[in-house]
């Protein structure tokens, strides 16, 4: 017999097989015990014929295997196309919580200041009048000393009205240079409304070093405001008054809603007030035993609620305090 012709015939037939059944028949026909090839192999006497027949056998076996796996794969694919899910159905509901928007802002602030080389700290919330007012050079007639504006426990203890006492604490704890930001809760005696809550959060920065300038303060606040609100924001500064800084300024950031054109959010000014700042008043240095001729510094304080509200466009500050999951799960 002609082994080559048989091989070609078999390979052609195998290639044409379209079902596993057909392939099985072909396997029996060409490789079965009674197949022409097997009979020829049993009858072979010379080496040359034997080699040719064996080569044909191997080629046919390989072809069957290859065709077999391709037919199986085709059948699997055919079956899989029947096995269809509705991809618009929701996925499994896995538990995932979320960070409060103020915590998110707190981390942005922390990271921005860490990048500038500041340490992060917080200090006590129940303060003495000495640390909350006296050492920060509040005048005896400053309205913040009034029990109308400030929560008193007794004549000498208050809930801190700003994070500024941290300035005194850090200056008493360590020698300059100091670069620190203090973040935490502060308290003012405001009735609860859409825009005010008697408890809120501030970050307070303090830098004390040799020959710091108002320009350094402007640059620092520009970086931090852009970290919070985006790199396209502009920052401007207005003169102001605080007992513990001189000169004192207030930073404004350009309104992100209208881009500075004026809208309801910025009360049609194009600017949004961000807090207070200034160069450390020499009195504060004197109050902690530092020489104002040797050291200079700047300080600033801003509210976290304001930042959280602006980032998420939350019109009512109470949303941040009510713990309502319908609101909090959005952030």
């Amino acid at each position: 017999m002609d082994a080559g012709a048989l091989k070609n015939e078999a390979l052609g037939a195998i290639e044409a097989a379209s079902t596993p059944g057909e392939l099985d028949e072909l396997r029996v026909r060409y490789l079965g015990r009674k197949s022409e090839l097997k009979q020829a192999l049993r009858a072979v006497r010379d080496r040359e014929t034997g080699m040719a027949l064996n080569e044909a056998r191997v080629a046919i076996e390989d072809a069957v295997d290859v065709r077999q796996s391709s037919l199986e794969r085709a059948e699997l694919d055919r079956n899989l196309t029947q096995d269809v899910v509705d991809v618009t159905l929701p996925g499994e509901e896995l538990p995932l919580g979320g960070l409060h928007p103020i915590t998110q802002v707190r981390r942005i602030v922390e990271d921005a200041f860490l990048g500038l080389g500041y340490e992060v700290r917080d200090d006590r919330e129940v303060e003495t009048v000495e640390y909350n007012f006296d050492k920060l050079a509040f005048a005896p007639t400053h309205s913040a000393r009034s029990s109308r504006d400030t929560f008193f426990f007794d004549d000498t203890h208050v809930l801190r009205t700003e994070t500024s006492p941290s300035q005194i604490h850090v200056l008493e704890e360590k020698a300059p240079p100091i670069y620190m930001v203090s973040i935490g809760r502060v308290y003012r005696r405001d009735a609860i409304t859409a825009t005010r809550y008697p408890i809120f959060h501030q970050f307070e920065g303090l830098a004390v070093d040799k020959s710091l300038t108002l320009a350094d303060l402007k640059g620092t606040l520009l970086h931090v405001m852009r970290a919070l609100y985006g790199p396209e924001r502009r920052v401007r500064f207005r003169t102001h008054f605080f007992p513990f800084t001189e000169p004192s300024i207030e930073p404004d950031v350009s309104c992100g809603i209208c881009g500075g054109e004026g809208c309801r959010t910025c009360k049609y000014s194009g600017w949004i007030e961000m807090g207070g700042a200034g160069m450390v008043d020499p009195r504060v240095f004197e109050n902690v035993g530092l020489d104002p001729e040797e050291w200079s510094g700047f300080a600033f304080g801003c509210g976290l609620e304001r930042a959280a509200q602006l980032r998420h466009d939350v019109p009512d500050i109470r949303v941040l305090w009510e713990g309502d999951l319908r609101a909090l799960r959005q952030f």
Binding site: L114, T141, S147, I192, L212, H223, T239, P247, D324
Partner: protein
């Protein structure tokens, strides 16, 4: 401070756009919080339809008893017929007229129309119709010298803008129109008019008996006496200015004092002189228990902290804060004593604070008014009282204590540059100071009296320069020589606690630091609401409340956490400790899993112990060293809820980070399941502890996976099945090693707990 722009123009010429003025003032002087447009619309020629008119004839409307039919000359040649509902005028009156087509302050457009059959070709105006005031009881009567046809806008501010200026506490000089004008003049390099007011001729020389007993509280007292005073309403222009500035017109004399205060910043007071006993003024401290009924009709009980204006016998005013009712100017007053004094800030602040009484006066005094301002303020008020009330000025006295000297400050422009961070030439710095009223003599700067309280040091002078250069100062960063920033270990681990809880499905919530009540000595003396009264010693009550509200509105899978402080009473100040608290739907096993996961994330191992806590289910409650966890007491929330409250620093102290590597890969473990029958009261944890003690470090893990009660074990017993693995990090354990370890465990548990090995 409301600053009507028309009034401001009296003192400084304004050519710049108002928005630019508002921005410059905001940046360099005091924030302009807004610009209020007032009056009638200034567009489409609207102003040309408001004219001065003279009433030629006025008679009753033929068809209406309550209306007048008027013929009014408005300078057009042909007079107009106008129907008017007011009766406070007659023929010859000079009035303000709006012609048909005019749009009034409320936006209504006037039409020519018939009123009860008679044509009304315009309207005679009351002050509210052009926003000059609120009065609608009669029409405005204008000065008779005005010519009919004169544009009304030339005579009255029927169009005006008001700057809403928020002056800072150190700038009482900006609580005055003139003070704002001074800043504007300096900012734009404009000429500032001298302060308003010229003393009229004094027509008498009566003595005024003024005694100051407390020069600290009252360093200066100018008293001026007026006779033949005719109390009446102020003219329209004056009422319009007060109204625009936010004050209610009262009577010519009172309005004159308020006008002078708004213009110059020195509060004044006018007494009915006839009521003052012995015609005497005594400035003294109140006697204990002394009383005064103030102008607002409230009886005030005073203390020696309060400074009084008294007559020979009794209190007649609370100095600087409010006058007394008895000596108030009334319609029948004919003799007036004008007070232009100076009061010390702290005295006023303390009284105003204690009496909860804040007034335009106290607001200025407590910020510190320039004592040299009393004289010009007296002058302006005197001029007005004489002009408006036809009064004769007959007496004048000025009692002074030691008035402060103007501060002299050593000032170096170079040092100012170094603080501000931008170079400004000495000439320019001196020019800025000069425009603000400072006098520069070489290195010495003489501070003007109106800034003497605020500017006392070199750095204060530097601020004056800085605020004018603020927009030019560059943005730089400090050239740091030391310091680098990193979160502390505690801050890093706190973030991890937050993140792990978020991953477990907890939503972070913020709740108030105060509770309606708590077991604490830290309670606010004047809370704003009883809900926020006592500093909390626990987080859970607020979180349970928040969970309840969420459940009530139908939120599913409620799980809340908070990291915040509690305030534990301890000595002079409370011990403020950060806690992490959580409340969630689920039972004991769930919350224990949460706490175990937290510990695990911190590379710490919790030890659970029994405890007591009234917030929790008494049988499903445990504690770690950091605090309690368990099922909430069923009386608190409906359903099965659990909670934990852990002290953050205790939790973080337990952290074993960084962990040391243990080889659990090279030598394989031998795993077995062991089940023991024990009495009901034996705790699984005690069995594990005993097993560890017996088998040592090669007992790698022993974890309960089933608890069985039933036929297969005796009554009163339970079977606990453990999956156990033995492993050494030095060698492969043989079967003999494993059975040896197992024997030690079985023996120990049998001995200590009577445990029987079941499988």
């Amino acid at each position: 401070m409301r600053v009507p722009v028309a009034w401001l123009r009296d003192y400084v010429p304004l050519e710049m756009p108002l928005d630019d003025l508002a921005t410059r003032l905001s940046v360099s002087s005091a924030e302009v919080e807004g610009i209020e447009r007032r009056g009638v619309p200034d567009q489409d020629g609207n102003l040309s339809r408001f004219l001065v008119g003279r009433v030629l004839e006025a008679s009753k409307h033929p068809n209406a008893d309550r209306l007048q039919l008027c013929v009014v000359d408005v300078g057009e040649g042909e007079p107009r017929q106008i129907v008017c509902g007011a009766w406070n005028f007659g023929a010859g009156a000079t009035v303000a007229v709006a012609l048909p087509g005019a749009v009034l302050a409320d936006g209504l457009e006037l039409e020519q129309r018939k009123v009860r059959g008679e044509l009304s070709n315009g309207m005679i105006l009351a002050e509210d119709e052009v926003a000059l005031g609120t009065d609608h009881t009669g029409i405005m009567l204008l000065d008779e010298i005005l010519e009919p046809g004169t544009p009304l806008a030339d005579v009255l501010p029927i169009v005006d803008d008001v700057l809403l200026v928020e002056a800072t506490g150190n700038r009482p000089d900006l609580l005055a129109i003139y003070g704002i004008a001074r800043e504007v003049a300096a900012l734009y390099d404009l000429e500032l008019a001298p302060p308003a007011g010229v003393n009229p001729e004094r027509t008498g020389d009566e003595g005024i008996d003024v005694q100051i007993e407390d020069y600290d509280g009252c360093p200066r007292y100018i008293g001026r006496l007026f006779r033949d005073v005719a109390i009446g309403p102020s003219p329209v222009w004056l009422k319009a200015r007060l109204h625009a500035a936010g004050m209610r017109p009262i009577s010519n004399v009172v309005d004159a004092t308020n006008y002078a205060m708004l213009a110059l910043g020195n509060p004044l007071h006018a007494f009915d002189f006839a009521v003052l006993r012995d015609g005497r003024i005594v400035v003294r401290r109140a006697r204990p228990g002394e009383k005064l009924r103030t102008l607002d009709g409230v009886d005030r009980r005073l203390t020696p902290d309060d400074l009084l204006i008294a007559d020979a016998e009794r209190a007649v005013a609370l100095a600087g804060i409010m006058g007394g009712e008895d000596s108030e100017i009334g319609e029948s007053t004919t003799d007036v004593l004008l007070e232009a004094a100076n009061f010390e800030p702290f005295t006023i602040f303390r009284s105003s604070e204690r009496l909860r009484l804040r007034t335009e006066g106290s607001n200025r005094w407590e910020k510190g008014v320039d004592p040299y301002l009393a004289a010009p303020a007296a002058t302006l008020a005197t001029q007005l009282i004489v002009e408006l009330a036809g009064a004769r000025w007959v007496g004048d006295t000025d009692i002074q204590g030691d008035l402060p000297e103007r501060p002299v400050i050593q000032f170096s422009p170079d040092r100012a540059d170094r603080l501000i961070g931008i170079e400004t030439s000495a000439e320019e710095q001196h020019a800025i100071l000069g425009k603000l009223g400072f006098e520069v003599e070489g290195e010495r700067v003489l501070v003007p009296t109106w800034r003497a309280r605020d500017v006392t040091r070199e750095v204060d002078v530097t601020e004056e320069v800085a605020r004018f250069r603020l927009e030019d100062v560059p943005f730089t960063l400090p050239e740091r020589r030391a310091m680098f920033g990193t979160l502390t270990r505690e801050q890093q681990l706190r973030r991890r606690v937050e993140d792990v809880l978020v991953g477990l499905g907890f939503v972070e919530s913020y709740t108030p630091s105060m509770l309606p009540d708590d077991e604490t000595t830290w309670k606010l003396s004047e809370p704003i609401t009883i809900e926020l009264t006592a500093l909390r010693t626990r987080l859970l009550p607020s979180l349970v409340e928040a969970a309840r509200r969420n459940a009530e509105v139908g939120s599913r899978r409620v799980a809340l956490f908070e990291i915040a402080r509690v305030y534990l009473p301890a000595g002079e100040l409370p011990d403020e400790r950060l806690r992490v608290g959580g409340v969630a739907e689920g039972g004991f096993a769930y919350v224990k899993g949460v706490v175990e996961t937290l510990y695990s994330a911190l590379k710490a191992e919790p030890v659970f112990e029994l405890t007591k806590d009234l917030l929790f289910h008494p049988g499903k409650l445990a504690r770690t060293a950091a605090g309690p966890l368990g099922e909430l007491h069923p009386s608190l929330l409906e359903g099965t809820w659990s909670a934990f409250e852990l002290d953050l620093s205790t939790l973080l102290e337990a952290s074993r980070e960084p962990v040391t590597y243990v080889d659990v890969i090279t030598f394989p473990p031998v795993r077995q399941d062991l089940a023991f029958a024990v009495l009901e009261e034996v705790a699984a944890g005690d069995l594990i502890d005993a097993a560890r003690e017996a088998a040592g470090a090669e007992l790698r893990e022993m974890r309960p996976f089933d608890v069985y009660r039933g036929n297969q074990v005796a009554e009163g017993k339970k079977s606990i099945a453990f999956s156990v693995s033995f492993q050494s990090h030095e060698r492969t354990l043989s079967d003999e090693d494993a059975s040896g370890l197992r024997e030690k465990i079985v023996e120990a548990l049998a001995r200590r707990f009577g445990a029987e090995l079941r499988a």
